[in-house]
Assembly symmetry: C2
Homo-oligomer: 326 residues x 2
Amino acid sequence: MQGTRLDIGRIRAARRVIDPIFLDSPLYRCEALEPHLGCAVSVKLETANPIRSFKGRGTELVASLLADSDGGARAVVCASAGNLGQALAWSGRRRGLDVTVVASRFAPAVKLDRIRALDARLELVDGDFDTARERAAAIARHDGIRLVVDSLDIETCEGAATIGLELVDSGPPVDAVLIALGGGALATGVGHVVKALAPGVEVICVQPLGAPAMTHSWRQRRVVTTDSTDTIADGVAGRRPIPVVLDDLLQVADDAVLVREESIIAGMRMLLDQAGLVVEPSAALGIAAILEDRDRFAGRHVVTIVCGSNVDVDDYRGWMEMAPAL
Amino acid sequence: MQGTRLDIGRIRAARRVIDPIFLDSPLYRCEALEPHLGCAVSVKLETANPIRSFKGRGTELVASLLADSDGGARAVVCASAGNLGQALAWSGRRRGLDVTVVASRFAPAVKLDRIRALDARLELVDGDFDTARERAAAIARHDGIRLVVDSLDIETCEGAATIGLELVDSGPPVDAVLIALGGGALATGVGHVVKALAPGVEVICVQPLGAPAMTHSWRQRRVVTTDSTDTIADGVAGRRPIPVVLDDLLQVADDAVLVREESIIAGMRMLLDQAGLVVEPSAALGIAAILEDRDRFAGRHVVTIVCGSNVDVDDYRGWMEMAPAL
């Protein structure tokens, strides 16, 4: 592996800064899934924490650096599809930071409500996540405050990378790890650790067919943008990959695959019925990838990162009714 | 506190024997629940493991003692409402033990299916859990093999008690802990640790009105049996409390309360909608207790042990449709 922006020593050090409530998340075999998938499946469960996603690992680093800076900025702004905003609000609140989150007004209401409940200022834009990114950058420039850019800011990647340490340090040997691919922090973070410490494990990124920009970019080895996205997996629906994040992803991903919406819904239903797990669409991408290519995984042991569970109740019910029972 | 059968040193030692996959389960605030309950609520999540309940903590002790015994019995039998059987099958399988589970044929099919899938011999009786207890004892006598009796066998209590250590050693300070009460292993185990190490924390046991034998026994300070049970909380539906377990419970419980079926269902729905947690009825008893007595808990910080998530999919869907949305 050629270099990425990440460093194992820094990732190990990050574990000492992140609130333990986000660390050492459950990692276990789900045998009840296996007859339906034809392979051994372990889940790394990133939903059993106060914000129900993995994003707290990264925001803990961001917020603690800000809080520790001498006379430094106590204000911070980020764009968010919904989970980063909750995480930054949580990490900022306990350190007395002034947190602003910019999100699409089309983001799931539950994510927006939780951001408000965590005392952050929430600004909604009449566009998608990439529109929110532009607005957050404008706020940071205008107010002279810290801008947090998911996947670009190294702390967001290092935080996610601590999941990779837990996989290789304490998990069972596996053949492949399935990672939801959006902006790339999770994939580059976990991928870096896996390729550095367990290079034989296949790193497979999974993205919806309806939001394929980063996967197309990875395949063509250059940034490819799209004009729009069309997926229920709101957490990974970006149109404009960040060049340096793509550079890192090219170093660590063995594959990037695209999955259909119906496979995502079937994966969510399978995780509910067979594993008792409520997950948001992005967190079912790994199961969807197995469902779409059973031969590839037959007889292997894969781990999938269940990265979030922030779903609108009504949306979730609708998806579950839509999905075929097993 | 006068003595119980439990001992803090032995409980600490148990942590070194139990597979870490069952230890240090998530413990976190669920702020989204709080506006609906009027108090601060933390959950201790015992479902994110291969058998989706806390019972593995105890069966790990039982099975490792059996496996380590010189030329000792390699066969073991237990009666189970469904979760102990899965746990014993899991712990026994990895140690090459010959596991027999006796259960009611009315137990949830998913629990019975999982016991079979874990390679245990399953025998069904045409009665309830207490009928299964009699049959398991008869098998043990006839075959001369080890009988595991939940709540009576000290390992089942010590295993459960490790949850208590995690609550007092690493959790935030709380005012009360809400514990599902069935046979009593969970309540006496956790209760012993809490009363020994954090005596100011109120230990409140919660049982369904439809299966009140242990609560009536605790209140009358003598064993009270019932002729039948009538509750969806299959995991705690016993009719015949064990005298020495009641003795222990009398030492550690500050209160034992009974809740209605509709409160259990409302608690399950609230945990699903607000916390994204699928739970079995027994695991919602704590939330049900808060719903039935909001004044008692107003403004306090309570922790509830979410002790299992093994639900039949169709039953669960039915209950969720029955429960009022918030």
